[in-house]
Amino acid sequence: MPDTRSTSVPGTVRARALPAGPGPTARLILLLLLAAVLVGLATAVLSLPPVAPGLGAVVTEHLPASGVEHPVTAVLLNFRGYDTLLELAVLWLALLAVWSLTPAPLAHEPTANPMLAALNQLLAPLMILVAGYLLWNGGHAPGGAFQAGAVLGATGVLLHLSGRRLPRAVDGWPLRLALLLGVALFSLIGLAVMAGGAPFLTYPPASAGGLILAIEAAATLSIAATLAALFLGGRP
């Protein structure tokens, strides 16, 4: 491929003499502003007491009632369930925006590569296993829906990159269902506990563990599907 640089798109981008950022005055003002931000934030950080209890003690105190043993999972899915629910909704909205912007680009992957196929056979089952392990771990150790969902979503990306496509049967509503499952189950359970007189998203301590695991499993599936679909970059 001789002399692509002169005819290719990036060549023109370079050659078209992009305005080289803001002018000197604007740059000076920007630097002054940022210096103020730097000094302000640094003094704020340094002026804080070097030891602060934070909310750790409160979380530890209420941990037995949360249904899980790992404080971060307890905060995510019980104490601050609203955040997590809305965060799942944000993920879903981002995907909605991506899908409404553009159809998925046609896949021009060169067809099956034997190396990649072998790699997939080794890696994909292991990654799904690790995702399940992380999901289960979330109850008592670092891990949980987000980490498991990210690993599972990365599995989807790997499979997509090596030319695997979703079968037609799963392409339509089953995919949409998987994308929605996390938000749907989360809010359903949150609403269901209100029948017993509890406020939204407060689980009864006796069944909290099981409910959290169910929500986390659904959220894992949704996060994984959303991340993989976001990588695809368009409506399939």
Partner: protein, 103 residues
């Protein structure tokens, strides 16, 4: 024992800094990418050492995830962002590569 683990982690971190040189220099894109992959491997070792030194077993899971997922970036690179023509391979190798890709 903890000090030994920390010292080893520090040493590995220094080798990582040395590897950064290749990212900055690497004549081809593949050189840069492989240097980043090398960082992934080093990071696995550092995380395992830290798991021992800081007595925090959760970090072993982090190392596990790193080891598993390091492949994805390089697969994305070879499938999407790599132009074999730039590589200093010989002509027959390149033809074989193309034939393999098209088959």
């Amino acid at each position: 024992m903890s000090s030994l683990y920390l010292a080893l982690a520090l040493f590995l971190l220094l080798t990582l800094v040395a590897g950064l040189w290749r990212v900055g220099r690497g004549p081809t894109a593949a050189d840069r990418m492989l240097a980043a992959q090398l960082f992934g491997t080093t990071a696995v070792a550092i995380l395992l050492l830290l798991a021992e030194a800081m007595d925090s077993p959760g970090l072993r899971d982090v190392a596990l995830v790193f080891a598993l997922l390091a492949a994805i970036t390089v697969v994305a690179f070879t499938r999407r962002a790599w132009q074999p023509e730039r590589l200093p391979t010989s002509e027959p190798e390149r033809l074989a590569e193309r034939a393999g890709g098209a088959a």
